[in-house]
Every structure is written in C-alpha cells, then in structure tokens.
C-alpha cells in the first residue's frame, strides 16, 4: 500500500516541488500551508505515515506544530522531517528537541528525498 506523506510548508512552490517529487516516487501526498492547517487535517482523519514540515511558517511554525503533533493520539511515533537550510544548524537540534526525527536540507532533490524517507519510514 502506498505510504502517505504530509507536506507542511507555507511556500506553495516548495509544496508543489515536494509533492511532485514524492508522487513520482509513488507516495500519496497531503499538503498543508501551516501548522494550524496541518493539525486540522490530522484531526479530520488524514493519517500520514510521515510528515515533512517547514520550520519558519506563519500562524503556527514547525516547532510548535511538531510539539503539538506529539500530543495527538496516533501521531506520537510518526516520523517527522524538518525542512531546514544549510545555514541553520541550531534549528535542527531545536527541531529534534521538539520531537522531529530528522531534517531535510533545502533544496531537496528527488533521489535524496526518497533515500532519506526510506531511511526513516519502515516499509517505504
């Protein structure tokens, strides 16, 4: 069964880019524009096997989103990858502290993306 991946990013370009790369690799993709919107989707039954989230977003940023996510039933152990840039090492540690599994460095290309996902998502 195809795994579902949720992409949370306020940039439509980034969403589109990740979505097309992931779909090309056979994943089902759900998108959300910020943490609040993502949580809403989760509350209404979207059940991703993995979540990729940007850190810097309006309304609710990635760190708070991950923190809240971990309190929801069914998402305590879901792998979460934080989207970061190469210049912000401290963000990664912070993201991990908030419950992220790992990070992706923008820009992420298709093969890298799939390689990393296969590493954190059993059965992908």
């Amino acid at each position: 069964m195809a795994k579902t991946i949720m992409v949370v990013d306020d940039s439509a370009t980034m969403r589109l880019s990740l979505k097309s790369a992931l779909e090309l690799s056979g994943f089902k993709v759900e998108c959300a524009g910020d943490g609040v919107l993502a949580l809403n989707q989760l509350k209404f039954g979207v059940k991703p096997d993995l979540i990729i989230t940007d850190i810097n977003m309006p309304n609710m940023g990635g760190l708070e989103f991950i923190k809240t996510l971990r309190t929801l039933p069914g998402f305590r152990f879901t792998p979460v990858l934080a989207l970061t840039t190469e210049s912000h090492q401290e963000k990664r540690d912070e993201a991990k502290k908030h419950g992220a599994t790992g990070w992706l460095v923008k820009p992420v290309t298709g093969p890298d993306l799939v390689k990393i996902i296969k590493q954190v998502l059993p059965g992908a």
Binding site: G74, F77, P122, G123
Partner: protein, 79 residues
C-alpha cells in the same frame, strides 16, 4: 493490525508499529508464557521488541526475513 493474538500466541505479520507495543505489553502481562510467531513479520518497532525481551518471550517461528531473524536471534530465544 500487524499483531494478531490467539489463545497463547502473538502472531506478527508485516511491520508492527510502535502503537502496538502497549497492547502487546498488556497481553504479555496476562499471558506470561505467551509464544511469539514471527513467520510473516518483516519488521517490528523496537518498542515491541523490548517488551518481548523484558517478558523473556520465546519465539516459536522465526521470521522468514533472514535479516530480521538474525537480529532477533541476538535478542530473543527461539524454541
């Protein structure tokens, strides 16, 4: 569900996720002599594994996934 419980046996299939560890722990509490069938299991989240290790579970059927079976051999006894 990746774990199906019969009278005295927990039968694993596919990949058992972390969420299942709670039920497994509960079941093992009630069935201290419970046996484990990993025949169709390809992966299990370590939460499940450590619960079984703590309970001193016996594996009755090794996983047909040779890699997984080798790992499990280092953690659990097989009859």
């Amino acid at each position: 569900m990746a774990i199906v419980y019969t009278k005295n046996k927990a039968v694993f299939s596919d990949a058992a996720g972390a969420e299942e560890a709670e039920t497994l722990l509960e079941w093992l509490g009630k069935h201290p002599k419970g046996k484990i069938d990993l025949g169709a299991c390809v992966h299990l989240h370590p939460a499940n594994l450590q619960v079984m290790m703590a309970a001193g579970c016996l594996v009755t059927v090794r996983s047909s996934d040779q890699d997984l079976a080798a790992w499990i051999d280092s953690a659990l006894k097989t009859i």
